[in-house]
C-alpha cells in the first residue's frame, strides 16, 4: 500500500544552521512528491514539488528538496534556517497508479528554529 513516512516528530535547529526534514515514501509506480508547510492557525501552503527531471527541486522561501529514487526519499532542506521557518511540515505523494489524484500525507514534522 502507498504510504509516506516522516520519521521525526520534531526537528530543532539553531537560526543560521542548515536544516533537513526527512521524508520517505512507498508507492507502486512513479511518484509525484510534494512538501507543504502549515503555520499556526493557517492552512497548508504549497512549498515545492517533484514531478520529473532534475532530482533537486527548488521551492518557496529558500527551501529545496532532493528526490532519491533508490532510497525512496524526498528530504526537505534549507541552507540557513530562520526563526520564521518554525512551523509544521508535511510531505505528500501522489501514486498515479493506485490513488489517482488524492494526496497521501505523512504525519507531519514540527520544525523549531531557535534564535
Amino acid at each position: 500500500a502507498q504510504s509516506v513516512a516522516q520519521p521525526e516528530d520534531q526537528v530543532n535547529v539553531a537560526e543560521g544552521n542548515p536544516l533537513t526534514v526527512k521524508c520517505t515514501y512507498s508507492v507502486s509506480g512513479n511518484p509525484y512528491l510534494f512538501w507543504y508547510v502549515q503555520y499556526p492557525n493557517r492552512g497548508l501552503q504549497f512549498l515545492l514539488k517533484y514531478i520529473t527531471g532534475d532530482n533537486l527541486v527548488k521551492g518557496s522561501y529558500g527551501f529545496e528538496a532532493e528526490f532519491n529514487k533508490s532510497q525512496t526519499s524526498f528530504h526537505l532542506k534549507k541552507p540557513s534556517a530562520l526563526v520564521s521557518d518554525s512551523a509544521l511540515y508535511f510531505c505528500a505523494v501522489r501514486d498515479l497508479i493506485q490513488a489517482g489524484t488524492a494526496l497521501i500525507f505523512g504525519k507531519g514534522t514540527t520544525l523549531s528554529v531557535s534564535s
Binding site: 509516506v4 509525484y32 510534494f34 507543504y36 492557525n41 493557517r42 492552512g43 497548508l44 501552503q45 504549497f46 514539488k49 514531478i51 508535511f90 505528500a92 498515479l96 490513488a99 489517482g100 489524484t101 488524492a102 494526496l103 497521501i104 500525507f105 505523512g106 504525519k107 507531519g108
Partner: protein
Amino acid sequence: EAGVTQFPSHSVIEKGQTVTLRCDPISGHDNLYWYRRVMGKEIKFLLHFVKESKQDESGMPNNRFLAERTGGTYSTLKVQPAELEDSGVYFCASSQGGTGRAQYFGPGTRLTVL
C-alpha cells in the same frame, strides 16, 4: 488572486447534530478536494470533485457524510448526524486540471463534536 476559503473556521456541536462546512475554491479550478486531519494523525483524503461530478469518494468514512458541489463552484460537506469521532480539521483544496498540478489548501474548519 483569492485563495481557497472555508467557512466556518470553527464549529462546536453536540453529538447527533448536523453541521455543514463550505469551501470556495480558487476561481477557475475545476478540481476540488476534501481532506480531514484527526488530532495527531495524518491528513486523510475524503473525496474529489471534477467540476460538479464526484470523481473519487473512496475516502468518505460512512454515509453520514454528504458532499455536494452544485454548479461546479463552491462545495459543501454535511455531517449528519455528527459523532464524537468526526472531530478534527477539515481541509478543502483545489487545483487546475492536469497531472502534477499542486493542490492549494484552505485554512481548514476545526470541528469539535461534544
